[in-house]
Symmetry: C2
Subunit: 87 residues, 2 copies
């Protein structure tokens, strides 16, 4: 399955979330990761995110397509290079 | 078609993008809008975004599903109320 994760978490959680998601998905924009996951991996990611973010103040949205082919992706502008210093 | 738009634009463009997207889509998270658009509306949105953002520094990603049914949406945490003061 193809997964897009966008998050809005307090600044003290940002690095933790980035470092974690980078193990499973590709960074595509500030606070946006996407990539192919198995269902088991997806459950693992979600369970871990539940633990590491402050659910009262943070918010994570996941868009899941059964297959990447069913998701058209358009973009405007230039992708920024990933800020590796943060990771 | 169901559209999710995430953007990362310089602070001076943020309000312009928000105010514009709010006319067509629902705000769901900081820098994330989603909703149902016709193809004509989608083209209008993309053409206008091309004009109003600084493409050298801003980046917009659009995920398009032919139908919302093909897109599973999960979330963790609480959606923040939209900051209407910004709009």
């Amino acid at each position: 399955m193809y997964v897009v994760i966008v998050y809005d978490v307090n600044v003290e959680y940002v690095n933790k979330v980035r470092i974690f998601l980078k193990q499973y998905l590709n960074w595509v924009q500030n606070s946006v990761f996407e990539g192919e996951l198995t269902e088991a991996e997806y459950n693992k990611v979600m369970n871990h995110l539940e633990k590491i973010i402050d659910k009262a103040n943070g918010h994570v949205l996941c868009y899941i397509s059964r297959d990447k082919r069913y998701l058209k992706i358009d973009e405007i502008g230039i992708r920024k290079a990933e800020i590796n210093n943060f990771l």
